[in-house]
């Protein structure tokens, strides 16, 4: 695992995927902090987990299902009430190029 390192480039890439704007300086500082955390997390590499299946849901056998019944849990007015910008019953965002 020694070849893995969180550098400013990795931070910028993750920040771009996560849609969080960060400047170059922030990326450099964050890289330093996060790489320390990464080194600490690398304890996990000590143990052999090849034969162990990942555990996602600790206490669950299967997902429940619900009957197919349409409801109106939220009306249009409630749906739009909390939005910073609406027009004509729609949420508005900067124009997306198709």
């Amino acid at each position: 695992m020694s070849e893995i390192k969180i550098d400013a480039q990795a931070v910028q890439n993750a920040a771009r995927l996560a849609r969080i704007a960060i400047c170059e300086q922030e990326a450099i500082e964050l890289a330093k902090e996060l790489d320390e955390v990464r080194v600490w997390i690398d304890q996990l590499q000590q143990v052999d987990v090849e034969a162990i299946a990942p555990l996602i849901h600790p206490n669950h056998q299967q997902t429940p299902t619900r009957a197919d019944i349409a409801e109106t849990p939220i009306n249009r007015e409630q749906a739009l009430a909390n939005s910073p910008q609406t027009a004509d019953g729609h949420f508005v965002v900067p124009r997306v190029v198709g």
Binding site: I20, I52, P64, N82, P84, P94
Partner: protein, 498 residues
């Protein structure tokens, strides 16, 4: 009506049910106390006096009409501001939610209301429940009622501080890696993290979905049992809630532990603040004195719980928090004309999230990204299975595991020693229960030489909360009293409302 100092949740509910006290008077009493002292503690982020009094009157009316069996009749309860209360702002300690007001109560809040509880207000937390100090809330740090310059612990710091300062008789917190238990320990309260799936998460802002559970914070074990009974049970809006029998936890509180077995994980006694180590040893001795049998246990993978926890929690958080984008609700960054949709996202999220949340989202995104998924997220999930299997195996031989809640007591607000990595390691004893989905409880065991409360912790097997309540009351009966208070907090804690 009793003074606030001597109220317990169960006694108040009985008094209100029997008509000996009115919910309205109780609510007024607690509202007045919040008004009087919360400026010093900063636990509450939203108090709606009219709404609170209105629901208190509704409880009184129900009782007047013959209702007698409301388990939480007239009990004033605060709600961590990660949990939706209808038409009240839901901020999660963040700027990014703006003035968002949910149209519905979270399932746990509806259940509280149905049980006759009176919601007294929303309380502070670390932003999106990410933290152990309650310093990162957008509403400013919360202070520990036992020592106003110390942190209350986190992330449910507002909940524990409010309960400890007797502003409300209980609070609902959430626990992802210790967020109910750690502040309960730091503030001298009882905090329970139920079995994962025991309590509905519907209407609770998700931090890490596979780890989050809502849990009660109270001043004693029996109150916690009563409160948990009211919010537990399956919910058809949460696919991870499970329909498991709910034992009579009040009854469990009265059952003896004589000749039963408890485990002590020997590694958990290392590298503790000495007073914390003493507390755990005394607690173990008290259990033995009560006739229980101690079994020493070693765990091979336990030290990997915290790093595995952080990888999983941050990874899940990175996707759970993607919905906060300033489009359908919440705060949107001011943008110059012609800005793109991606700029709207990136700027709104950079401005709306605080530094710790940004850090965790970025690290979590990295751990899930191409090339790192297997080495980090996937591996952490495999380690999670090791931790879970090992812990449940240990708990098949004993009723409960006893240990510390945290390696130390509360630290000072603004302590620069407590950088993120050091703070993460304060979760060393709490994250395993979340990884394994097990129930756990923190309860007070005396105070250190600074007068700060110490928490001891019990773990039980899945769905065996009854064990926590049974052993918890036994410990509580033997624990040193918290009554004598340091000067700094005495003024606050001893204020009566007669």
């Amino acid at each position: 009506m009793s003074t606030i100092e001597h109220q317990t949740l169960i006694a108040v509910a009985e008094d209100v049910n029997q008509g000996r006290s009115s919910a309205l008077e109780i609510a007024e009493q607690h509202l007045e106390r919040i008004e009087r002292i919360d400026s010093k503690i900063n636990a509450f982020v939203d108090v709606d006096r009219d709404q609170t009094l209105h629901s208190a009157r509704a409880v009184d009316n129900a009782i007047a009409k013959g209702q007698r069996n409301l388990p939480l009749a007239g009990v004033p309860i605060s709600i961590k501001d990660l949990i939706a209360v209808q038409n009240r702002p839901l901020r999660a300690g963040s700027k990014i939610l703006g003035d968002y007001r949910p149209a519905h109560d979270a399932t746990v809040v509806s259940k509280l209301k149905a049980a006759g509880a009176v919601i007294i207000g929303k309380v502070s937390l670390d932003e999106f429940a990410m933290g152990s100090t309650n310093e990162s809330a957008s509403s400013g740090p919360v202070r520990n009622p036992w020592s106003l310059d110390s942190v209350p612990g986190g992330s449910s710091g507002g909940s524990a501080a409010a309960v400890s300062a007797k502003m409300g008789l209980a609070s609902l917190g959430t626990d992802t890696g210790g967020s109910v238990r750690l502040p309960a320990a730091f503030c001298g309260a009882v905090g329970v993290k139920p079995t994962y799936g025991r309590v509905s998460r519907s209407g609770v802002v998700a931090y890490a979905s596979s780890l989050d559970q809502v849990g009660p914070i109270t001043l004693n074990v029996r109150d916690a049992a009563r409160l948990l009974s009211a919010i537990a049970g399956p919910c058809d809006h949460d696919s991870t809630s499970v329909d498991q029998p709910i034992d009579d936890w009040a009854l469990a509180c009265e059952q003896r532990i004589e000749s039963m077995r408890f485990g002590v994980v020997v590694d958990w006694l290392e590298r503790l603040q000495p007073s914390v180590a003493d507390a755990v040893n005394q607690a173990a001795q008290a259990l033995c004195d009560a006739g229980a049998q101690r079994v020493d246990i070693t765990l091979e993978h336990d030290h990997l719980a915290v790093p595995a926890y952080y990888v999983i929690a941050m990874s899940e958080a990175s996707t759970n928090l993607a919905r906060y984008d300033g489009v359908r609700y919440g705060r949107r960054a001011q943008l110059e004309a012609g800005a793109s949709l991606d700029q709207l996202y990136a700027r709104s999220r950079a401005e709306g999230f605080g530094p710790e949340v940004r850090r965790r989202i970025i690290l979590g995104t990295w751990a899930l990204s191409s090339g790192y998924y297997d080495a980090y997220y996937d591996r952490a999930c495999r380690v999670r299975r090791l931790v879970r299997d090992e812990l449940t195996a240990a708990l098949s031989h004993v009723d409960v595991l006893l240990g510390p809640t945290a390696p130390r007591t509360a630290w000072k607000i603004g302590d620069t020693q407590m950088d993120p990595l050091t703070t993460y390691q304060m979760d060393i004893f709490t994250t395993a229960a979340n990884l394994a989905g097990l129930p756990a409880m923190s309860l007070p065991w005396g105070r250190d030489d600074q007068g700060l409360p110490i928490g001891v912790q019990l773990h039980a097997g899945p769905w065996r909360e009854a064990n926590l309540f049974q052993w918890g009351t036994a410990l509580e009966a033997a624990a040193p009293s918290l009554e004598a208070l340091p000067k700094s907090a005495r003024d606050l804690r001893e204020i009566n409302c007669d």
